[in-house]
Amino acid sequence: MGAAAGNVGVGWKSKDNPAGFPRIFAKLDPVPRLMLTSSSMTTDLRSRIAIWILSVVAVVTSSAAAAIAATPDTSTLPPAATRPVDFTREIRPILERSCLSCHGPEKQKGGFRVDSLPALIRGGETHAPAILPGNSANSAIIHLVAGLIPDSRMPAKGDPLSSAEISTLRAWIDQGAKAPDVAQVEEDPIRSHWAFRPVQAPAVPAVSVPAGAGANRTAAASNPIDAFVASRLMQDRLTPSPEADRVTLIRRLYFVMLGMPPSPEEVAAFVSDRKPLAFERLVDRVLDDPRYGERWARHWLDIVRFAESNGFETNRERLNAWRFRDYVIAAFNSDKPFDRFVREQIAGDALGVDVGTGFLVGGPVDIVGSPDPTLTLQQRADELDDMVSTTGTAFLGLTLGCARCHSHKFDPISHREYYSMVALFSGVRHGERALPLPAGRDAELKRIDSEMAGLERQLARFKEGANQTNGIPGSAAAATTLRPAVDFAINREEFPATEARWIRFTVLATTGSQPCLDELEVWSGNVNVALASRGTRATASGTLPGFAAHALEHINDGKYGNNFSWISSESGGGWVQLELAKPERIERVVWGRDREGAYRDRLPTDYRIEVATRTNEWRLVASSADREPLKTPVAKAKSKVPVYRFEGWSKAEAGEGRAALASLESLRKQRDVLAKSEMVYAGNFGSPGVTHRLHRGDPMSKREPVAPGTLAIFRPLNLSTNASEQERRVALADWIASPDNPLTARVIVNRIWQHQFGSGLVTTPNDFGRNGAKPTHPELLDWLASDLVSHGWSLKRLQRQILISATWRQSSRPRPDALRVDAGSRLLWRFPPRRLEAEGIRDTMLAVSGNLDRTAGGPAFYLHEVDRENVYHYQPKERFGPAESRRMIYAFKVRMEQDGIFGAFDCPDGSLVTPKRSVSTTPLQALNLFNSQFVLDEAEQFASRLRREAGGKVSAQIRRGWVLAYNREPDRREASDAAAFVASQGLPALCRAVLNSSEFVFIP
């Protein structure tokens, strides 16, 4: 009865209620149970209530002064009745009739509800407390019902309370506002629920380890994990299983920690290692293996709903989101302290780890734009909800999202607090951001700049215009007077009519960021021949990904304004080219950044317009060279490129010049690469603005403004509304990553345990609230959590401790006696075997066939053909080659569309957070493994590998096959059976069967 009061009627588990669904909903009782007598309470509970009542009294007393100060004239109040008043008979009917419809379970206007006594006494957002027990004359609720507060008579609808009713209500308050039968209903969730209490390391139980624990009894006795597990097993008279054999151990270790099996050589070395602590040393090697990060990052990416496409119907690609995936892999491999890992994902920009905030915007986003304001607000509200909810589940194991429309039904998360959390993220926008240049890059750039300057000096005499006038339009030399500076709205470029099939607009510098053109018109007489509707095709150097409003198609769609514009993917540069349906005689090009005049950024300031009638025979028709400079800061991606002419110089001089120019060009290219910031889909940060509470979560129903803050469950963070955007996230990160936060360490310890054993100590890893499951081993969870924090939040250390425990090293063989008591092996009388996940199966096939490409990191490979229409469609590939032979974590993670083979193995698509994958067994999985070209190809490759490594003898091939695929030798029957099969059906057929077999895909 450890957590009596925290457990009032909800959340306990039993055999027929495995997830601990609240029994309070068990059945609909036709006659509501009204009475709750104190005799049904335990002493523990009674004392808790006493404490609670004291704290209420304290609150009342401290706020009494304020309440009294605001007291209106009470002389007109009906006097309190003098008889004893019974709550159930006299007060409740009044509340039901006059208050409940607005201040009850359905609505809580003003944050006030009367359906629980503490809430009734506490009051709402104003007029709190509503009741001062013993002092009706000064109780706000009396002032409200008596109409003493101007314009706030309650009830707002329906008949006012009669004088007699007010008298009764006053008497009840004066008699102490007691409701003996209901008072206990609301307990204090913060103190009573196990997961909200501070983590304290419990004492390790002293248990004598049963003989069953086998060879490793010394380790078992000394590892606290085993003591906790054994003590719990004993309660059910269960005993642990003996240690698994070494082959099983190393295979399990590799599958669980690296996601693929050991090589036969690694197995042999371990099996023959007779020195003490052989397994411990193996664990150390495995934790240092870079495959560890690739395996464990996958688990984290599920938890943070990471994917590389936007989702919803457009589902565009995020071409640099992979940097976040690589960041997570590196974080695991380098054993980044978990508190640091938390901070970097929420506020990495403040810590010099920009890529970390890929977490914030890792979720889906609906980029379909519309002039309909409701839609836009709803989309934004959904984005923010995704950030708040994912932060809640990933780090705190709390379903914050439940409080979007109303206060949380089970946990102490109010509707208002939800919006305080929203305010923490309200300056975060989806999109990609430039990463700062790496350290040392500046010096390198300076060196190149000075070298380039030297070469430019050498070349000065060859510069166009220096000693000649070549007459090219737009060149400074040809222009007598300068044209006005470029204009944000519209620019007309006129030139003598000329034949053209292609028109190219090249941007060399902008007022900042990637250039934007809302329309590029090419006029032939009074016809704009550039329009796509006339068959003109647009291409570009690159288009800013992820924005439907800025897709290339807008360059010639005839629509003006920012919402129908093209933005280049390159900061300060890029080109766009139009190919007309047929050659036309053109005389004017018209362009602008925003014809509607709303935007004054991204304007090309240095540009060239060229035309061609045949490919690659470009003629310059206009440029910025003859314009006044724009009087705003100009971002230059490349310095303006002068033209050099070597005609008319002596051969030697021209040769020298050409050589200098070649060096200059090569340096320039080098510089362009070095100066280019890498981009990452890690969000953009702007002004947070004012966040409002949204009534029932409806973005059109704005209520009062809400300041940024966190939950009251633990040292609530209350920031000022003036807090800067970054300050908000930094504060949140610190709040979550605090060693005193009761949830953070417990939640991550449970996740680690879950992926090491297949199931967590808490089976609801994203819900540590009152509706979640209770831990099977609460003391063990707390011991591990406290140990994690006191050892610098090192996950590798935590994992090592679990791996070397006798509990983890047990055999997985089922035992009928134990199965009868604990079929799910939740009490860990054995190691629970399980199927590998989708990625593990694919990686293992490639590893065993010898085809695995171990290249780590970088842009993804694709498991789909991508149909890049306005709406992107992804068709699963049917044939795969070397390009698709890397580990599956490096596959482009698409939302919605699954891989055609392994998707069926419960592979989540990152649309929602997935704290725990379901493990289903379906005929489609069987079809995919048995019939797909991929598996057939791997079987062929596996067969060739066996021939290569084992020679021509079938028995040797079979032995090698077993050792590669199962890490063990075949027994005699298997060997002869397999030999007979190979004789009739061939080696590839054997390999196909092995790759499909249960043993191949099970973690033993």
Binding site: N7, V10, F21, I24, F25, K27, L28, R33, M35, L36, T37, S40, M41, T42, L45, R92, E96, L100, S101, D115, S116, E186, F312, E313, T314, N315, D366, V368, S370, P371, P373, L375, T393, C402, K409, F410, N766, N771, E869, H873, E878, M896, A904, D906, S911, P915, S920, T921, T922, L924, A926, L927, N931, E974, D977, F981, G986, A989, A993, S998
Partner: protein, 500 residues
């Protein structure tokens, strides 16, 4: 763990029931709330214990009991992707004809998905009375019109998003966001299937491609992958279904046999571990599907008069060929229902090359031109499907549902000859098992802009379909990420009025 306070098991009511009661006076029911702990109402709270089906690992499609006697055993859903206009098909609005060319009163400044609205615009197709019921249905769908006496219309549907992706998510999964299980996944999770050699849930995409929101429409979401709709149509078979061409048949079956021996020996080392038995069973089921699915998808033994009825034998023009392809998908759907497949979803319309309105119902620009293609393609084969199901007696236990993600505006868009998105009011219909015939429920306002009478939300619509399958939408739950999730979220009320 003992329960110290059994008295706190006070009954909870769902919020809608609460409100309903609130309307007629609180009475004693509200007492329950007064006693309730803060916030125990809503979320997944149904007032009843959730009924989570017990799934045998090896037989995910084994038939399972419904909560109460079902009216329908199977569901055949026809989904018009792109948002089919109710105003040009089934929702007759004489006032729209009278006020043709005038602005919509009170909505002059209205901004919808693509922007400003022009004038009220009558349908280019005339409405005529059909059947004994005299139901007014447009000339765009005359074959369906002729079956008006079989159909049960809901004219007061209301969505909550005007964007295709979220809209299709909403109609197919009950949530506008990505990642939630589809209606068919819920139904097969609850009920399994009566046939054990075919998938329990089949999604038949249009031959032109997938719908706007693609596989989300038949996604398993957080339900086990077993309940994902299996995707194939009359043109494209199930991926990886057939024996690879490079493998001879006898080698294929010998390999299957050898694999089975490997798996049985392995399972023998783990007696009692049902997952391993399940895996063996899954290969057996796969082998059966390999035989039965091509058989059911092979339309070559359909008699000529059936092909003719559906228009599956026609050709010679783009429209007729498109119609014939859709018709073959309709025949396939009938064959699957005939075999006992629990849930079949047929899509009409695809998001494909060519953009909006070209291969789906998204008629923004040229309603007349676009719907002159989509109407005929939908009309004859869908009508034939109803006729065919009826003549085979399949309508007795099959519920046919026709739907789309939302409706369209009674106005034309400013400067355009088409209608913009409109989730405020649209039409769906049902036919067959358990629903009234020749009946219309609810209505939109005089122009067909907003549902005004007996509004039916998408949650209500789903609740009704589950009800017809014998399932209580409030009790069919699955725990995910901290919540007992339902198809109908925290809402939904069975539309009793449409039940036969």
């Amino acid at each position: 763990m003992s329960n110290p306070m059994p008295a706190l098991g006070s009954p909870m009511l769902n919020r809608r029931r609460f409100l309903g009661d609130a309307g007629i006076g609180l009475g004693s029911i509200a007492l329950a709330h007064l006693l309730s702990r803060q916030g125990l109402l809503g979320a997944t709270v149904s007032g009843l214990e959730p009924l989570r089906p017990a799934i045998e690992p090896g037989r995910p499609y084994a038939p399972r009991k419904s909560h109460f006697d079902p009216k329908a055993k199977n569901v055949l859903m026809i989904f018009c992707s792109g948002a089919c206009s109710h105003l040009d098909t089934f929702d007759y609005k004489p006032e729209l004809i009278r006020r043709h060319g005038m602005p919509m009163p009170g909505q002059e400044k209205l901004i919808t998905f693509q922007g400003e609205q022009g004038a009220l615009t009558r349908s280019p197709w005339e409405f005529k009375p059909r059947g004994k019921s005299g139901k007014m249905i447009s000339e765009l769908v005359p074959h369906l019109g002729a079956l008006a006496d079989e159909m049960c219309f809901i004219h007061s549907m209301q969505g909550k998003t005007n964007t295709h992706g979220p809209g299709e998510n909403y109609m197919s999964t009950g949530n506008t966001l990505d990642g939630f299980p589809s209606l068919g996944a819920w139904a097969t999770y609850a009920l399994g299937s009566s046939d054990q050699s075919l998938p329990a849930y089949v999604a038949i995409p249009d031959h032109r491609g997938k719908p706007q929101n693609s596989v989300n429409n038949w996604a398993p979401g957080f339900l086990p992958a077993a309940f994902q709709g299996t995707e194939f149509n009359a043109t494209r078979p199930i991926r990886n279904l057939s024996r690879p061409g490079s493998i001879a048949s006898d080698r294929d079956s010998a390999t299957r046999g050898f694999l089975q021996r490997l798996n049985e020996q392995h399972a023998a080392r783990f007696p009692g571990d049902s997952e391993l038995a399940a895996r063996i069973a899954s290969y057996e089921l796969a082998a059966r599907m390999q035989l039965t699915v091509p058989e059911v998808a092979d339309l070559s033994n359909e008699p000529a008069h059936i092909l003719k009825l559906y228009g599956a034998d026609e050709g010679g023009s783009k429209i007729l060929e498109t119609r014939a392809a859709y018709a073959r998908n309709c025949i396939l759907a009938r064959r699957l229902v005939e075999k006992g497949v629990r849930f079949v979803q047929v899509f009409n319309g695809a998001y494909q090359t060519g953009g909006e309105g070209v291969s789906n119902w998204d008629g923004h620009k040229d309603l007349l031109g676009q719907y002159s293609v989509h109407g005929p393609v939908l009309d004859k084969p869908t009508a034939a499907l109803l006729i065919d199901l009826k003549q085979r007696g399949l309508l007795e236990n099959t519920l046919v549902v026709w739907c789309t993600e939302f409706g369209r505006m009674p106005t034309f868009q400013k400067g355009s000859k088409g209608r913009d998105h409109n989730p405020s009011g649209f039409t769906t219909w049902m036919a067959g098992a358990g629903v009234k015939k020749g009946f219309s429920h609810g209505s939109t306002d005089e122009f067909g802009y907003k549902a005004v009478e007996n509004i039916v939300t998408v949650h209500d619509f789903h609740a009704t379909i589950l009800h017809l399958l014998g399932l209580d939408h409030e009790r069919l739950t699955y725990y995910h990420n901290g919540l007992e999730r339902r198809l109908t979220d925290v809402d939904g009320q069975v539309v009793k009025n449409v039940l036969a």
